[in-house]
């Protein structure tokens, strides 16, 4: 479904992603692991077009020079220079890190905005799905999203991404800062989302909570891919174990 080859991303002269190649197959759940500032966000932003957007913006005003090279193929098309919107239309949806929601809007307005590019009828169906997936949101529909707890915000953020109708859902540290119970909820929801035909890539610093559900994982250090394997393979590796599973 997605093939990334020799991807490099520079901010000015600092290398954030180094000669990265990987693939995602249809229907998989892929883990992207790495410590803080390893390059997880940069990778996901590059896939979703945000880095490209930032690059164009900075270029116009002569700010930070961002360089992206290599290739990204999605469903056999080169999407390297597409705008974020075009990628959204192709079904690549990013759920950004730190549970982003539109604070001044209600939960339902947030969810509906997720379907900004879709028809009213389709949005309705997706809303239904989101409320089934996260029943606590039903009661919070009319609440301002800015007032929600971290876990509730994450449900809204994921819900918003779902209403955008992803084929490939990129989740950036969805578990960060959540209670163990909420983490389990998000993990459960991820499996449910996959069941509906969505391919998922999720990044995390700590691999343990999502290890049981991933098909494969990629471990990144300083922008470089250092290890690949199935969940069990990664778990069994002593180095990986101490670095990414905590003790």
């Amino acid at each position: 479904m997605l093939n990334v080859n020799n991807l490099m991303v520079f901010y000015e002269n600092a290398l954030a992603v180094n000669d990265l190649s990987f693939e995602i197959k249809q229907g998989e759940i892929i883990g992207l692991f790495g410590s803080n500032s390893a390059g997880k966000t940069t990778i996901l932003n590059t896939l979703s077009g945000l880095t490209h957007h930032l690059k164009v913006r900075e270029q116009r005003k002569g700010g930070t020079r961002i360089t992206i090279s290599g290739s990204i193929n999605y469903l056999d098309a080169d999407i390297m220079s597409l705008k974020p919107r075009d990628r959204v239309e192709l079904g690549i949806i990013l759920c950004r890190e730190r549970h982003p929601v539109f604070r001044d809007n209600t939960v339902e307005e947030n969810l509906k905005l997720g379907g900004y590019l879709r028809k009213a009828q389709e949005i309705k169906e997706s809303l239904q799905f989101v409320y089934e997936l996260f029943p606590p949101l039903i009661k919070l529909r009319k609440n301002k999203a800015g007032m929600l707890s971290g876990g509730e915000k994450e449900m809204v953020a994921i819900g918003m991404s779902l209403v955008a109708k992803p084929k490939l859902l990129l989740m950036d540290e969805p578990l960060l800062g959540l209670s163990p119970h909420m983490q389990a909820e998000v993990v459960r929801a991820t499996l449910e989302i996959r069941k509906h035909g969505v391919t998922v890539m999720m990044s995390e610093q700590y691999a343990r909570p999502i290890m049981p559900i991933i098909d494969r994982g990629y471990i990144i250090e300083n922008g470089t891919l250092v290890m690949t394997g199935t969940g069990t393979e990664l778990m069994d590796n002593p180095e990986v174990k101490s670095a990414y599973f905590g003790t």
Binding site: L50, K61, R85, C95, R96, L113, G114, L117
Partner: protein
């Protein structure tokens, strides 16, 4: 006397609100402080005048057409002069300021300086309310201010486009990640702002003549109202307009007409010195960049 004060204070507040709303909306939605706002107002006045006097259009048609044309001009201004410097606040200010001065001085140079330039009121005549005589145009201004406020509230809370614009204003990268485009949003914000400046122009200008200096004055009024109420706060826009509107009427009644201006210029300085975020402004939380 009291009713006179109440009614004319209200009219004045509505005038201030209409004058400021385009500036405030553009700033709230796109973060661009459009220093050409007053020039947009003036340009709208002259365009409407030319459509009526050169093309012979009926005033109502001319005014509607003016609003549409100015909306397009606002969008073009974003596309042509603001897009390249988007995100560099100082450059945004410099380019809109330069454009504003250029437009205003262009009209001065072309001789739009006599007393011949005025727009017709929507309805001629006046009416007596509670013993105060007031012309229909001033009542219409209050009505238009209310309608515009209601329309904008509906637009930003119940329409897809309005919600998307607000989303973009709150969190650009999240908006981008669900397919909203930032240049499109900013273009629309500038266009809407210019269209609103034109609505203000065609509603308010019939009260007097179109004088070149309005290009500067209207911008200063918009700035005063927005700074007092808090930039990007809708409630602030209302309250700021009411406070300044009544303060100006008090000042010009008791101190003399020239004091009206001192009030709003003074307000800018005082508010910035005491509470820079304005009455209802909130400091934006520091958000980390992508």
């Amino acid at each position: 006397m009291v009713t006179n004060f109440l009614i004319y204070g209200l009219v004045n507040s509505a005038i201030l609100m209409l004058s400021a709303i385009g500036f405030s909306l553009t700033f709230g939605l796109s973060g661009v402080a459009n220093f050409a706002h007053g020039a947009m107002y003036l340009t709208a006045g002259f365009i409407a005048w030319m459509l009526i006097n050169y093309l012979g259009l009926s005033p109502l048609v001319a005014m509607l057409l003016t609003v549409v044309l100015m909306g397009i001009l606002g969008a073009l201004i974003y596309r042509i002069i603001l897009m390249p410097v988007r995100g560099i606040v100082l450059s945004e200010v410099i380019s809109t300021f330069a454009l504003g001065v250029a437009l205003i001085e262009f009209f001065r140079w072309k001789g739009f300086t006599s007393f011949d330039f005025s727009l017709p009121p929507f309805v001629k005549g006046s009416i007596e309310i509670f013993g105060v005589t007031i012309d229909y145009q001033r009542l219409i201004i209050i009505g238009i201010a209310l309608i515009i406020a209601l329309f904008l509230w509906y637009f930003t809370h119940y329409t897809n486009t309005g919600l998307a614009l607000r989303g973009m204003a709150q969190d650009e990268y999240t908006a981008l990640s669900i397919g909203i485009e930032s240049d499109w949003a900013a273009m629309l914000s500038l266009g809407l702002g210019a269209a609103l400046a034109s609505v203000a122009a065609v509603a308010i200008l019939p009260l007097g003549i179109i004088s070149i200096n309005l290009g500067y004055e209207i911008f200063l009024i918009a700035l005063a109202v927005s700074v007092l109420g808090g930039l990007e706060s809708t409630l602030g826009l209302f309250v700021g307009s009411l406070i300044l509107g009544y303060a100006m009427v008090i000042a010009s009644t008791y101190l003399g007409p020239q004091w009206g201006q001192v009030v709003y210029l003074g307000a800018i300085v005082i508010v910035l010195a005491i509470k820079p975020s304005g009455l209802f402004g909130k400091y934006k939380e520091l958000e980390e960049r992508v």
